[in-house]
C-alpha cells in the first residue's frame, strides 16, 4: 500500500510499521543505520565500563582510576535511553516524530555527561546543554514551517514530487540536528570523552553520527 516515491536515494523499502498517521519504514539505508544503532545499544547493555590509566610522563608512575559499575548506573540508563531514541529516529516516517526523537537524543546526551563529577566534563556538558536548548528552536521551527507550507507532516507525502518543501525549512532542520547531535562541534565532545566510562560516553558519538546520516537522507529526499 505504501510506496516510496523515490528509491534512488535510500534503496527499496523493506517493510513499514503503521502507527495511525505516522508510518515508520525501513529501507536498505535506514535498516543499515537501525542495525548499527541496535548493535551499539546491545553493546551498552552487556558491556562493563572501561578503566582508564593515567601515565605520568618522565617516569614509570601510572594511576589506575577506580571505576565500578555502580558509579556508572545512571550513565548506562541514559545511554540506553539514547540508544532507544536513536532507534526511533532511524525508522521514523514523520517529520515531527523525527524532531521529537532528535530532541530526546539531545537531552539524553546531556544526561550521560551530567552524571560525571569532573569539572572540565561538566563545563563541556553545560556549554553543550545551552547549544542543545537553542537548537530546539530551529528544529521544531522547521517542522512548523513544513506543516504550514505543505499542510502535512508525513514523509510519504513530502518525498513526492508534487509537494515542494521550502529551502529554509530544510536548513532549519539540519541546523537543529547539528545543535542537538553536536555533529560539527567536536570541541565539546573531545572534552566530554576524556571522562572514564567508554561504552556509555561513545553513545553520544554514535547517536549524533546516525542522526546526521538520517537527516541528510530526509533533506535530500524532500
Amino acid at each position: 500500500m505504501f510506496e516510496l516515491p523515490v528509491t534512488t536515494i535510500e534503496g527499496p523499502e523493506i517493510f513499514v510499521i503503521e502507527f495511525g498517521d505516522i508510518v515508520n519504514y525501513f529501507t536498505v539505508y535506514t535498516a543499515a543505520l537501525f542495525t548499527f544503532a541496535l548493535l551499539f545499544t546491545i553493546l551498552v547493555i552487556i558491556s562493563r565500563p572501561e578503566r582508564q590509566v593515567d601515565i605520568a610522563f618522565g617516569g614509570d608512575a601510572f594511576y589506575t582510576k577506580d571505576v565500578t559499575p555502580a558509579q556508572m548506573k545512571f550513565q548506562r540508563f541514559m545511554a540506553l535511553a539514547c540508544g532507544l531514541a536513536t532507534l526511533g529516529a532511524m525508522m521514523s516516517g514523520d517529520v515531527f516524530n523525527f524532531t521529537l526523537f532528535t530532541s530526546m537524543v539531545g537531552i539524553t546526551n546531556i544526561g550521560i555527561v551530567a552524571a560525571y563529577k569532573y569539572k572540565h566534563v561538566l563545563n563541556a556538558a553545560f556549554q553543550y546543554g545551552i547549544v542543545a536548548m537553542i537548537a530546539t528552536v530551529p528544529l521544531f521551527g522547521s517542522a512548523a514551517i513544513i506543516l504550514a507550507t505543505t499542510g502535512t507532516l508525513s514523509m510519504w507525502e513530502l518525498f513526492g514530487s508534487t509537494i515542494a518543501v521550502p529551502l529554509i525549512a530544510k536548513i532549519f532542520l539540519v541546523l537543529g540536528v547539528m545543535g542537538e547531535g553536536m555533529a560539527p562541534f567536536y570541541v565539546a565532545k573531545a572534552e566530554i570523552t576524556r571522562a572514564p566510562g567508554a561504552p556509555y560516553v561513545l553513545m553520544i558519538h554514535v547517536s549524533s553520527l546516525l542522526l546526521f546520516l538520517r537527516v541528510v537522507e530526509i533533506v535530500i529526499s524532500m
Binding site: D21, A124, P138, T150, S154, G179
Partner: protein, 157 residues
C-alpha cells in the same frame, strides 16, 4: 576565559577561537542568527497551505474554546487523518465528556484549556489516535528530563 597571545596567522587564530570551549554557544548562536536572517528575508515567499491536514477552527462562543472539535459523543465525527485506513475508530470519542466535565463546560465559558488538560476531558483524537507515537515520544522526553533532574538533585558530592 583563557586568553592567549594573538600570535600566528589568521587561520590559526580562527582555529584557536573555534577550539575554545567557551565560544561554543556563541558560535552556534551566530550560525543560528545568520540562518534566521535568511529565513526572515525569504519569509514573504512562503505561502500558507490552505488544505491543512490538521485544520484549526476557533469558535469563541463555545465553552470548550479553543479546543472545540464538534460532533456528538459515541457517534462518528468528521476528523481528518492522513491515512484513515490506519485509524478505523477515528472520530468516535471526540465529543465525549464525563458528567462532571460536562457540568463545568455547561456553566463556565472560560475553562476550555482546563477541560482538555484534566482526565475525562476532551479526548483529542488527532493526538491520541492518529498521532499516538508523538504522544509517547513527548512523555518519554519529559521522563528523561525528570530523571536527570532527580539524579542531579539526589547525588552525593
Amino acid at each position: 576565559m583563557k586568553r592567549r597571545e594573538g600570535r600566528g596567522t589568521r587561520i590559526s587564530r580562527i582555529s584557536r577561537t573555534i577550539s575554545e570551549l567557551e565560544n561554543l554557544a556563541g558560535l552556534y548562536a551566530v550560525l543560528f542568527i545568520a540562518v534566521t536572517l535568511i529565513g526572515a528575508f525569504t519569509l514573504p515567499s512562503l505561502l500558507y497551505q490552505e488544505d491543512q491536514l490538521y485544520p484549526k477552527t476557533i469558535d469563541t462562543n463555545s465553552s470548550l474554546n479553543p479546543y472545540e472539535r464538534g460532533g456528538t459523543p459515541f457517534n462518528t465525527t468528521e476528523v481528518r487523518a492522513q491515512y484513515p485506513e490506519n485509524s478505523p475508530y477515528l472520530g468516535y470519542v471526540t465529543a465525549y465528556l464525563t458528567p462532571v466535565t460536562r457540568f463545568i463546560a455547561d456553566h463556565t465559558p472560560y475553562l476550555g484549556t482546563t477541560i482538555v488538560a484534566h482526565p475525562g476531558g476532551i479526548i483529542d483524537e488527532i493526538l491520541y489516535n492518529t498521532r499516538g507515537l508523538d504522544t509517547v515520544a513527548e512523555t518519554s522526553i519529559l521522563f528523561v528530563a525528570f530523571a536527570i533532574a532527580a539524579h542531579l538533585f539526589r547525588r552525593e558530592d
